[in-house]
Symmetry: D3
Subunit: 209 residues, 6 copies
């Protein structure tokens, strides 16, 4: 019964002596919350998911730096609610300039004519799975470019997929009810997925018990 | 022992069945957290406070609507840390266009030549005390204008004060080490403070025990 | 058979001598296109409509001035497609700063505690019906304010309605699946609608045949 | 009489059953408009052209994605009118951040110290001739960089040229009345032009009659 | 020989002990530069002037607060150069959102249907003549509104004029080669000019010699 | 007595015939100001400096192109005043999007895991020392990337340093009171400094007397 165990680590600034924003009110040190549960990957990666574009923009360093991994995710939650209303899995969030940032929960990749593209980590989390996918692509000789990408480019991609710790690599079948159709004969996603599975199996730390 | 009691109400979306952003994971209804404590006003309003301008901008509806009263205040906390580093009480936060929004914890007002000014409630909370102050000013015949205001205009104001539930009306003596000096012979702040004290005493709900 | 006749006037810059953007290629004067058809109002105003918020922002004078009444409405059409996908009537378009601009086809109004609000005509067309509604409100002593308004404020409005030449005054029942519920006992919309009907009947030019 | 024939293809969404923005009003399928005419290249490429910088910004994906090749070119037309008023050939359009986007009708390139530069395809059309020029440069070992470029950098370039289907490669002699003077001994433009002519002659599809 | 004398006052932070930006390098106090010359008003107000819209945006408080009256006017000078190139008197500068700010040298007003309009003092200097004109309008019962105004609205105005210390009230006849034509029968500008002349004559301090 | 001599060259547009912004008022040609003084480097590079982040944003090409090397540095001076108030050496200025631009006086570099990073020259001067450092890094096989970088990334860098003509390469020990700690065993800064000293000694023009 060791499979599908999931541990969520949250570091709080700790107990406060009174309500207030000042970090000096937290005088007993930080609190590490370890939330463990049995939890399989959140998406069915053999089947894929469907997305809509949210009206809610992903915040940027003017307001909150996406290089800080935090819990202030209310605007992502508002985007997720739009996905729920639309009856789809998740929502694409654009950045302030109208370029694709990520979904409310994962990073986004697209492939076109044999090249792998992903948005700059300006208005999205520089995720661990995202980095690993870029590293795998490089090691396999697949060109991988960070770029400003529009939702129109995603509509016309050969394939689109999301990456995240809990979802791993998940194909996207529809964005805004437009089918993502592979008109090339490249299968970058499949090739990376195979390497990804190998990597996570070999890189994983074996349980000592 | 009934004085200086303070109740902080927080409405959480409630218990989740697993970690995740989706509100549908909260299936048992909301949780109302009632945090009560003895707590006097946070500022010494007879003495006043000192501010610096933060490098951290206050978020706006592109990212998170300030008309939602929420707990996602990490960028305000980052501004408060700048105030701590500078050895002053709180930090002025500008909006994305460089106009004054509010402090990390309170709304801001300034007076100049007999007129009361406060920023539009675009990138700041439309606070209860803020509304009450505007209402009092109106009832006293003091012109009160919502406007885009720059930090330079605050430097040159006759008086500056903050408003908030916990701090009430608090004079600001220095912003960025520049003294706020009353070169006019208007004393709008004092006159409003007297009315405010009257109002809160008469509007308050008497304890039934 | 004179009822519900609708005439759409389009002024083109006229015939070109060759393809190209230069207005000097149009050398024969302008062409006025008069498109007449029997067409009833596009919405059922006794029943009302439903909206979703689009991911597509309404353009502003940086790119194209909304004071020019033109046919370059591709981004409105993209918003309308989002409404179609969501199975609702029309889409709310926000402006570049995240404030409500208008729907893809009409202006927007909301009422709250006896006051009528509508966005500034910065990123929306300064429509004829919009102006007439503001004029009627003024004449009836209903306070009417142009302001930066967020979608959250529309969710919490007492009533929301759209205005347009073809739709006249149309109640909005749902935005993003949130019901617009009148918690006050004001019925500004009904009172204005009655005056609007009177006005359009008296202001209309009688047919000479 | 087969030279200088030009065919302009326009894909319309087709006949509507009534006026309106909803694509569902187009029920008979799309209409392909084939506009053919004898038309030589629009610029005299042996002589070059003159530009001014327009006050009109090129739209970006916040409002309309430049990856969509459409006819909503009113803001380009407004820029062209500025060029007409100034008595020059075309106008440089900047993007929302003040960087050079393109002219109202073509893409823009500049050379400096042996390097070829062109703006990112963020606020300009990713034109076919633009792509071909970049491909040619690469094949000739000329470094070619997409970058945010300012109008000041164009003033000081060794050479500036535009690219487009109808104009091909056109030297720019003046921008805002400042002469573009080649102070280096590089002649990137000439070298690319020779290859371009070869390419278009060999890549062209011979007429079957 | 006392007419048309002009005094320009410039307050420098004073002599520096070495080159550098730090104000602490200025240790001898400020220097007041008094530049006096015989200089008539810079425009022929009986005839009026001509403007073009500059590609150069007027800075705003994100970068430099227009409430600071300073000499860092390089972007205004760049706008003036565009006016020179176009062979007209001055250039209209837009703000970052595409609304009219002012000219490179003066504030701007327009009249339409009996109402006087001028941009908010957000991206323009809150000029002394501007304030006086607004005050005069108020005293004469002419409605005067600060508003976000587009260049299109100026094209269609009944009249446009500039205000400044050196130019006083100057009619604008053309903007971007479009004639400003008074289609109403209001003559707000003339009426204000008469009052302005009276005011400056009576408010002026008589020379003591 | 030839060491530490410093020459500051300033090119003015020259003498004006009257006050005014128009360059045509400068009719006698430009004036070159040569300011020579004995002046050692402004920072103690063996010890390093301390920075705070300014609330003042660095201007960008919307308002003033950073590729123009000019004296309109009032917003840098305002940032420097913030550094003075905070009791530190200089201030980090962010660009309009919240990314790091430069300090009020120098360019900024950071190193992380063996890679050298510096902001794009979009909102900072493309300084000579900056270019030389990038060139040296390249020649030594140290990867050097221009990128959008946040202040959070600088907090977590292995090392941070500034570059400028007067300061050369200066280590930064603290930003916003957070110590910059080298957790890797890379010493990119030292290695570049050695090469920089060699370069400036060999590239310098020997005095002819």
């Amino acid at each position: 019964m060791k499979d599908d165990a999931h541990i969520r680590l949250t570091l709080s600034r700790g107990e406060k002596i009174t309500s207030g924003m000042d970090p000096r009110l937290n005088q007993k040190g930080c609190t590490l919350i370890v939330l463990a549960e049995w939890k399989p990957p959140v998406y069915d990666n053999s089947k894929g998911i469907e997305l809509v574009t949210s009206s809610q923009r992903r915040n940027n360093p003017v307001f909150l730096d996406s290089h800080i991994h935090h819990n202030n995710l209310l605007n992502n939650i508002l985007a997720k609610i739009e996905a729920n209303i639309a009856g789809v899995d998740d929502a694409v969030m654009l950045d302030k300039d109208g370029f694709v940032a990520e979904t409310n929960a994962t990073n986004l990749f697209m492939t076109k004519n044999g090249v792998l593209y992903t948005p700059f980590a300006k208005a999205c989390l520089n995720g661990i799975t995202r980095s690993l996918v870029m590293e795998i692509a490089k090691s396999m000789g697949i060109p991988c470019k960070e770029r400003d990408l529009t939702i129109t480019e995603f509509y016309g991609a050969d394939s689109v997929f999301t990456t995240g710790t809990m979802g791993e690599l998940t194909p996207v079948n529809f964005i805004d009810k437009r089918a993502i159709e592979n008109l090339s004969n490249c299968s970058i996603l499949n090739r990376i997925q195979i390497q990804y599975t190998k990597k996570t199996q070999s890189l994983g730390e074996p349980l000592p018990f």
